[in-house]
Symmetry: C2
Subunit: 397 residues, 2 copies
Amino acid sequence: MRYAVAGVRLGVAQAGIKKAGKDDLLLIALSENAQTVAVFTQNAFCAAPVSLAREHLALSHGQPRYLLINTGNANAGTGEAGIANALSCCAALGVRAAVAATAVLPFSTGVIGEPLPVERVESAIPAAFDALQPDQWERAAGAILTTDTRPKLRTTTLEVDGRACVITGIAKGAGMICPNLATMLAFIATDAAISAPLLEELLRNAVAKSFNRVTVDGDTSTNDAVTLSATGESGVVIEPGSRHASDFSRALETLMIELAQDIVRDGEGATKFVEIHVVGGESEAACDQVARTIAHSPLVKTALFASDPNWGRILAAIGRAGLEGLDTEAVSIEINGVVIAERGARAPSYTEALGQQAMDEDELRLRVSLQRGAAESLLWTTDLSYDYVKINAEYRT
Amino acid sequence: MRYAVAGVRLGVAQAGIKKAGKDDLLLIALSENAQTVAVFTQNAFCAAPVSLAREHLALSHGQPRYLLINTGNANAGTGEAGIANALSCCAALGVRAAVAATAVLPFSTGVIGEPLPVERVESAIPAAFDALQPDQWERAAGAILTTDTRPKLRTTTLEVDGRACVITGIAKGAGMICPNLATMLAFIATDAAISAPLLEELLRNAVAKSFNRVTVDGDTSTNDAVTLSATGESGVVIEPGSRHASDFSRALETLMIELAQDIVRDGEGATKFVEIHVVGGESEAACDQVARTIAHSPLVKTALFASDPNWGRILAAIGRAGLEGLDTEAVSIEINGVVIAERGARAPSYTEALGQQAMDEDELRLRVSLQRGAAESLLWTTDLSYDYVKINAEYRT
């Protein structure tokens, strides 16, 4: 069974929150001793399920038994009623599964501001519960999607002293063309045994290098969440400070970067995958600021969509990124290895033909050198196309 | 002669920088004692003409004799050669007009990063010079446009002790759908006599309430500039601290707000004019931060384009605007007088029909109340349409 993680079962159902005949409810069951950690959105308007999941994670001492995920409705901007509705779903599952409501972490994604159709969720819970199986990762990956065009599912195996452990994860999110505005959910599990503090550290480190490279903490949607569960069922134990911990950390990071990049590649209306690598800054934060200003510029993004080597728009974005005393003469820009600007102006070696050739690729690696220091920052983004507007103008209508 | 300002003459020519047969060069001649003040972009990559105009304004002690404006090429990101090219154009005009090169302020707008076609500009200077007349404001307003679909020209007359003085201004800029990324130019003149310090104060105050309500200082294009010239030819003298100064200030502010709103209404691909009014913040800066986060959100902007009352996206934008300790329960949102959200959730009185009716208007007044203090902030913006992408993807191709 490819993808399967010992101690994890998944069940999918159709609750009718989305159109009839669409999977829109996912239940993930975790074995009794599984340890779970999570990071959540920092949006002040965090959705009801986010508040409740955070609370239940604490109340269950990091050992929830179920993750209950619905799509089609974000249960965000729904006030007190939203909390009551999310709790009601947790309680309904609790009754069915004979666990406390606090052993259930709820997650929602979809339209903001509409009441959660609690009855539909609750009436589909038995079907999801009865469907729980270890081999349902592929269907689960499909069930959590909204405007995504394809599932995001990754797995990796790690050898530890002759024994194997597995890490498998699913993710959703496609509004990343302008990072941080759409809901990003990811659920990752391993059958290694890992203590809560180490698990927390592993998740935070990997998130910083993966999902936070396409989104920023202070600038997230109302519903973003990433969970990492360790069941220990493989018998592999990862001890803090060990070489195995480093290996596991690297494997987890790689898997999460793959999932994060899958999200970008499936960005709403995306026709380009764009890596922005800013080097030579005085700090990682300064490099990040420049990378995000470029990545968020509609003028840069539409030029990328048009495969137009309009590097002047990139220069203009760097110039307004707010770096103190930027020496524009020191700035250079490369796209896919072609030096397009240096000393703050068009590179002498640059030709429109070379620029066009570089821009015609589907994968663009943009490298900006600031020559102010030794720090750097990586960011992944997409272009801005007609289809982005279409998808987001028509999402509800 | 409607629009005419005594002491100001304008001449338009076709230099062939844009397509043949298009006005792309404007010369504004100012009388000998005219006083000029200006505000320029704060982008670190300011264009060559911006550097030079700033320098020449100082060297001419605020009394330049000519403003030389070309469209079709921004002369930005062009390094040392760009400065030399801009200076060469000023010198060529200086020879023709028998003034020092430093008496000429150069302005450019158009594609960034291409060398300025100096010979074309210089060869068209005589035609522009010979065409100088006081009644050319309308043609001048057309000559400075790039992706704009219509000219922006406003005039007003002020009575001062039985004598009349005129204020007339032209502006260009249409990329304001995502504020601050496209070049905004405005040239304003009056035949009142106003001392340099007062003129400076009048311009800064009016810019803060007009053009800076659609753009922000730290976040401007490489070429943004606004000039205000006072010729004194009407015989009207505006003294600092006088009632006339207040009247003039109000008239100037109104005219500049009209020009700024004209720019927004002509925003690239704009189908909606959107006013964002954030009230009840702890400071104007906090209100402004919220207004800009809403105005820059592609998800909000595409919903506005779709006339979709998707207020959840507005809530989400407010939530990630970075206000410390935001009480989401205190937030309410109105669109054109319809309360759509209050206490951080959908308003009990709200119906989709009411929301739809409000959103169907071409002019949307969005009012966000934070209930944290007494400060407020106004911002004008537009929606994000297919045509925005089309215009900006195809601008060079």
